[in-house]
């Protein structure tokens, strides 16, 4: 699904924040991406999302060399990836329902065709009765679930989550982890960037550990 070969990344003229990355993300796989704060987890996720270009090396996404893709092609490939941000990034003027349906609107689908699907997913993540609420009145956990629902509504092949439990209590963190595990079992490859050791101990999965800009893989 994703293959990194000798990938390096630097910002401007600074030192390489990521160097010599060689790893792959397989279909239906589940992995934690971890490392200390500032290790480059978010940068690595952005490389996987094609929202950053590597300074060197080759990144292959869904069998396409990302360096040769046009902006249009990258946007289309991005539709096969769901992203969950630590700060949720829900749009304040839209209800929970509308936020979750956003990727489907971007795909040009008609509301009548996706309404039932969005409501079903909302119920699945426990936001059935909050669908008309604006993000401003949602709790942190509700916002995170809404963000996850938005990331998976278009049935992506890969789900990237950046510190999804960073803003929630341990109990809610466990619930969110269960949600990711279920999504993985339904066929979506999952990469969770976290520095929460306790969360990783909850589930036996592959670990990608970033340290000093280098990646160590523990299968």
């Amino acid at each position: 699904m994703i293959q990194f070969e000798n990938v390096g990344l630097r910002y401007g003229f600074g030192r390489e924040v990521l160097c010599d990355l060689n790893f792959g993300i397989q279909n239906h796989s589940f992995q934690f991406l971890t490392g200390p704060s500032g290790a480059g987890k978010t940068s690595l996720l952005r490389l996987m999302l094609m929202s950053l270009r590597p300074t060197r090396g080759l990144i292959s996404m869904f069998k396409h060399d990302t360096a040769t893709l046009s902006k249009e092609d990258r946007a289309h490939l991005r539709r096969r990836i769901g992203i969950v941000f630590q700060d949720f990034r829900l749009l304040d003027h839209m209800t929970t329902y509308e936020n979750i349906a956003l990727p489907l609107r971007v795909l040009g689908k008609d509301e009548a065709n996706y309404r039932a699907e969005v409501i079903e997913l909302l119920q699945w993540v426990g936001l059935g009765e909050r669908m008309a609420a604006l993000p401003a009145v949602l709790s942190g956990g509700e916002k995170q679930r809404a963000a996850i629902a938005r990331a998976v509504i278009a049935r992506p092949q890969l789900l990237l989550a950046d510190e999804p439990t960073g803003n929630v209590d341990p109990n809610l963190g466990q619930r969110l982890l269960r949600l990711f595990i279920e999504l993985n079992k339904s066929g979506t490859a999952v990469v969770i960037a976290t520095h929460d050791i306790a969360l990783m101990d909850e589930y036996d999965a592959r670990r990608l550990v970033l340290h000093d800009g280098r990646l160590h893989v523990y299968d």
């Binding site: 902006k71 003027h93 909302l122 426990g126 059935g128 669908m131 509504i153 279920e182 339904s186």
Partner: protein, 325 residues
């Protein structure tokens, strides 16, 4: 495989929280991707309205001045004056009649109006006072000659004829005045065009910067759309449409107010028509109307400013996307 199919051996993570969803038809209408009533959007609308109003006023004022300058010039150019001077051994009344007849016979003349003694006295009354005995003064007499529209009489021949038959008469075709008037009119038109161009530039700049300001608050929307797989064209299109409507509404308010104002001025002008005040205004500014062309120019200005707003938003989206990507 459905995302929401139950997974064997695992409970749903929020099964204990799951509550009945409200009926689908209870959901409000789907919100626009770009928020409609943001504070920044309202401020931009106000900027567009004010700048369109000012630009429309400048357009209208420029058109009134240009039209009035043309009127002044053609008004003076349609008239010539014959001066009959008193001279020893000459009957000034006889010379006046003779000169009048000569001019009446010339081609291209619409009307010949010799000033009577009383009319001549009234002309100098502001300087010499009333009750003047004109016979005691060597006062020249005037004949005002109106030309047919578009006519170019042969003034040289007319001047020659007068010189041979009425030696005390001389013809003034106002050439000096016309030249001065033309210079003044051209200067007025030039100044108006320069002011209009400056106002237009200021309008474009202020609308562009106000649009960029309004767009700055929309950066999170651009980012989210980008990350959920929207193409650049889709994102730019969403904002362009929104800002085109916003610019058009603001422009319609500002331009509409200017149209109303010009309509009101025209109506007042029509109401004052024939009164001394109306005559004074008409003498200075013509009939104070911007005409169909003026109203059309304002409508075009509204459309132009709306397009500037939309274009500025599109460019800002593109620039924002470049910083994200």
């Amino acid at each position: 495989m459905s995302m929401t199919e139950p997974i064997e051996g695992m409970a749903e993570p929020w099964d204990d929280l799951e509550a009945a969803a409200p009926p689908a038809d209870a959901l409000p209408a789907v919100a626009a991707i770009v928020p409609r009533n943001s504070l920044a959007g309202r401020s931009l609308g106000a900027v567009v309205a004010i700048m369109t109003f000012l630009a429309s006023l400048t357009t209208g004022a420029a058109m009134v001045v240009v039209s009035a300058a043309g009127d002044w010039e053609s008004e003076v150019g349609r008239e010539v004056t014959i001066q009959v001077r008193p001279a020893p051994g000459h009957d000034i009344e006889g010379d006046l009649r003779k000169a009048t007849e000569i001019v009446r016979g010339a081609p291209g003349i619409a009307d010949v109006q010799p000033y009577t003694k009383e009319e001549s006295a009234r002309l100098v009354e502001p300087w010499l006072g009333s009750g003047l005995a004109l016979d005691d003064l060597p006062m020249p007499r005037l004949i005002v000659v109106k030309l047919l529209p578009g006519a170019r009489p042969n003034f040289a021949a007319l001047r020659q004829m007068l010189a041979t038959q009425v030696s005390t008469a001389s013809l003034d075709d106002h050439r000096r005045w016309i030249e001065s008037m033309r210079t003044m009119a051209e200067t007025a038109v030039g100044v108006c065009i320069a002011i209009f161009a400056l106002v237009l530039v200021v309008t474009v700049l202020s609308v562009t910067f106000a649009t960029r300001g309004a767009m700055a608050t929309n950066r999170p929307i651009i980012e989210v759309l980008h990350y959920v797989g929207a193409t650049d064209n889709f994102i730019a299109g969403q904002f362009q449409r929104h800002f085109l409507v916003l610019g058009f509404k603001g422009g319609a308010i500002g331009g509409g107010a200017a149209i109303l104002l010009f309509g009101l001025v025209e109506a007042t002008n029509a109401w004052l028509w024939g009164t001394p005040e109306g005559d004074q205004v008409a003498a200075l500014f013509g009939n104070l109307t911007i005409g169909v062309t003026g109203y059309l120019a304002i409508v075009l200005q509204i459309v132009f400013i709306a397009l500037v707003t939309a274009f500025a938003s599109r460019r800002t989206v593109r620039r924002t996307l470049q910083t994200i990507d």
